[in-house]
Symmetry: C2
């Protein structure tokens, strides 16, 4: 396989005060999952803290993604990593607007800590290539358009 | 509070074959968490399927994020939603390049299903505003730069 389309799907159902019960699965290039998970919010946001907030899953997914790529590529390149730790910091700005608010991304920092007997230039090249393989890192580097549709009792609309 | 910086942090440690154990927390504007989670990969990717793959957390986080915003904003606007379901589909392309591969985002679709006695234009306006409040949706609409640093036995480097 030289190229493929990868598709992930999530189905969320609102329960509790702010909890969302989620069933996530992969449907292309083959079926995998489903994985059940949930998000909730703390009391300050009207929730019951019964699950991590959505942003925690997002930052955790980004971190796991680059870690998978580093290990997978190291194996293919024959580099042995005796330890791998990654620390990620993500900042957003939040501004109240009328009765709602608007948010915008402010900064992404990913620190990779590697113990290996491989030469430093090899490890640097490993990270540079792993970034381009990480689906989430690549996604964040693009300006993406999200198509939203709304279904009410009256049918579907693009919103 | 009219504006704020929100910061989330993740610390990941490689364990097992492809598993990453993650501790995620919020540090600004106040401390929350930590939330422990993990990612793993299926056997096709050299993993042991002991946890969801990173992309599942990412798509689950995106879905939970828009659901939180819709419910939070509906409450502030005085709209009663008797049911809320969201279906998200995300596609990426994957291309083999040398001994590694490169990936790119291809499409994002979010279907929102709402049962409410509110008028349809009110529900449409709700979704349009919730999109702008959702941190992850806003992040995906920007071209973000991620700063990567590498620490080896020889110290830190920007990579």
């Amino acid at each position: 396989m030289d190229s493929a389309v990868i598709q992930y799907n999530a189905e969320g159902h609102a329960s509790g005060k702010m909890r969302s019960d989620l069933v996530v699965s992969m449907s292309h290039p083959f079926a995998d999952g489903p994985w059940e998970m949930a998000t909730d919010e703390g009391a300050f946001h009207g929730g019951e803290a019964s699950a991590p907030p959505p942003l925690a899953l997002f930052v955790g997914g980004l971190t796991g993604c680059i870690m998978t790529q580093i290990r997978s590529l190291a194996k293919r390149l024959g580099l042995v990593l005796s330890d791998l730790r990654v620390e990620t910091r993500v900042q957003w700005t939040w501004v109240a607007v009328g009765r709602g608010y608007e948010s915008a991304p402010k900064g992404f920092e990913i620190d990779v800590k590697i113990e290996s007997s491989a030469a430093k230039p090899e490890i640097e090249a490993l990270i540079a290539q792993a970034r381009r393989g990480c689906f989430i890192s690549q996604t964040l580097g693009h300006q993406n358009e999200i198509r939203y549709r709304l279904k009410t009792q009256e049918g579907w609309t693009n919103v």
